[in-house]
């Protein structure tokens, strides 16, 4: 079952790596081991496997830099998503030491270097290859809550005005970058993938509480579903995972409250 393959690639970097002390101006470096959960059906069959890579890193390096080093210098077949590399695009959410994080926002020096760093694809979404998951179930729920402005009446001739307070009401939920870290950290979502998930509720919240939007009733109706907000068990995994620091559990609570006010 567990075949252990050991292969040593010649290192392009310094041989020892660890704390190479030296002359003035030399940047201290350290070795980190990444333990990556890989899945490559076309070359390795239908089973996932763990592979460890040890690379030399610097104090300012993020996990994404280490992944780049592996992909560019050691094993080009390692597959992961990234685009902006600066926490804006939401491409590189993954499970790092068991927690959903953006690889481009996690500094290696903040992770325990004594143990290998566990890097896994997001949980609860089908894995396509290595760290790349199929985001479709996530985006399907996002589409269902109609993430666009819905208005009634006549088209105004100038822009739709809004006071600073009205804008503040939903400011927090405008920050979402659709990385899926929240939804794929939720055990209720893991069960069968039918729960709408925190991200869909966050993005519904962004419009429900927008004074310019008239679609609140429709969106509340959509989320008042067996698989909607009522499946939330208030465990805060989503709030803990969100790289934008959105108070997700609070947003879900506000949507629940709006539904209760509407029903009674």
């Amino acid at each position: 079952m567990s075949t252990l393959m050991e292969n040593t690639t010649s290192s392009p970097g310094p041989e020892t790596g660890a704390e190479t002390g030296g002359g003035m101006g030399e940047i201290p470096s350290f070795d980190v081991t990444l333990r990556i959960r890989r899945y490559s059906p076309e070359t390795h069959g239908d089973e996932a496997y763990w592979q460890e890579f040890t690379v030399t890193a610097y104090g300012t390096d993020r996990l994404l830099d280490a992944l780049h080093k592996v992909k560019w210098d050691v094993d080009g077949s390692l597959t992961f998503r990234r685009s902006c590399a600066h926490g804006v695009c939401g491409s590189d959410a993954m499970r790092i030491n068991g927690r959903n994080r953006l690889a481009c926002k996690v500094l290696l020096k903040d992770l325990n270097p004594d143990k290998p760093i566990l890097v896994e694809p997001l949980k609860g979404l089908p894995v396509k290859k290595d760290l790349v998951v199929d985001m479709e179930p996530f985006f399907a729920s996002y589409r269902e809550i109609m993430p666009f402005l819905i208005t009634g009446g006549n088209e105004p001739t100038r822009e739709r005005l809004q006071s600073a307070e009205q804008r503040e009401r939903f400011d927090d939920t405008t920050k979402c970058i659709l990385c899926a870290a929240c939804t794929s950290s939720c055990p209720v979502f893991w069960t069968d993938g039918q729960y709408f998930g925190p991200a869909a509720i966050v993005n519904a919240h962004r419009f429900i509480f927008d004074s310019r939007d008239d679609g609140a009733a429709q969106r509340l109706e959509i989320l008042n579903d067996k698989e909607g907000v009522w499946r939330c068990r208030t465990i805060f995994n989503c709030s803990e995972a969100c790289p934008r620091g959105i108070e997700i559990t609070k947003a879900i609570k506000e949507v629940k409250r709006a539904m209760i006010t509407r029903a009674f």
Binding site: Y49, T56, D75, E136, A140, T191
Partner: protein, 157 residues
């Protein structure tokens, strides 16, 4: 730089990689909303009922030593305690059953397993609630042909 490689637990293969994901069906309605509100409301009431129950039975008067068939019969001779215990029984059973329903939904992954667990759950609810209700209204502290040493002293009178 060294790399090692070991096998991990199997990853679910994707059945149809190109296929569009679909939510199984829309299940809108107020049921889950009312169920959510009920859990909170019944929880608050249960908090009061359970602690009154524990205090009256175990602490007040002669405390725990006073409990026997006679003590129970004495309480249920009063419609006040009959109603209190009936409400506590029904709320605890509805609350507990609804809570277990949530847990089954959250943890059982296959539809068939879910169905059987819920059938077992609802059967247990009916049996306990019906028997409990019956006992509250028909309790007899001196059942005929019971061993005399188990009965309260006033039965022999």
């Amino acid at each position: 730089m060294t790399t090692t490689q070991t096998q991990a637990a199997a990853q679910l293969p994707i059945e149809n990689p190109g296929e569009a994901y679909k939510r199984r069906k829309t299940t809108r309605g107020n049921f889950e909303l009312y169920s959510w509100v009920f859990m909170r409301a019944s929880g608050v009431v249960l908090l009061v009922l359970i602690f009154v129950h524990l205090f009256v039975n175990l602490v007040a008067g002669e405390g725990i030593t006073a409990i026997d068939f006679g003590f129970v019969a004495g309480k249920w001779a009063s419609p006040f305690w009959q109603v209190i215990d009936l409400v506590m029984l029904w709320l605890a059973m509805l609350h507990g059953t609804n809570g277990m329903r949530t847990i089954v939904n959250d943890y059982a992954e296959r539809d068939g397993l879910r169905m059987w667990l819920k059938i077992a759950l609802y059967t247990a609810f009916v049996v306990v609630t019906v028997l409990g209700t019956l006992v509250i209204f028909t309790f007899d502290p001196c059942p005929a042909d019971a061993p005399a040493n188990l009965l309260p002293s006033f039965c022999t009178a």
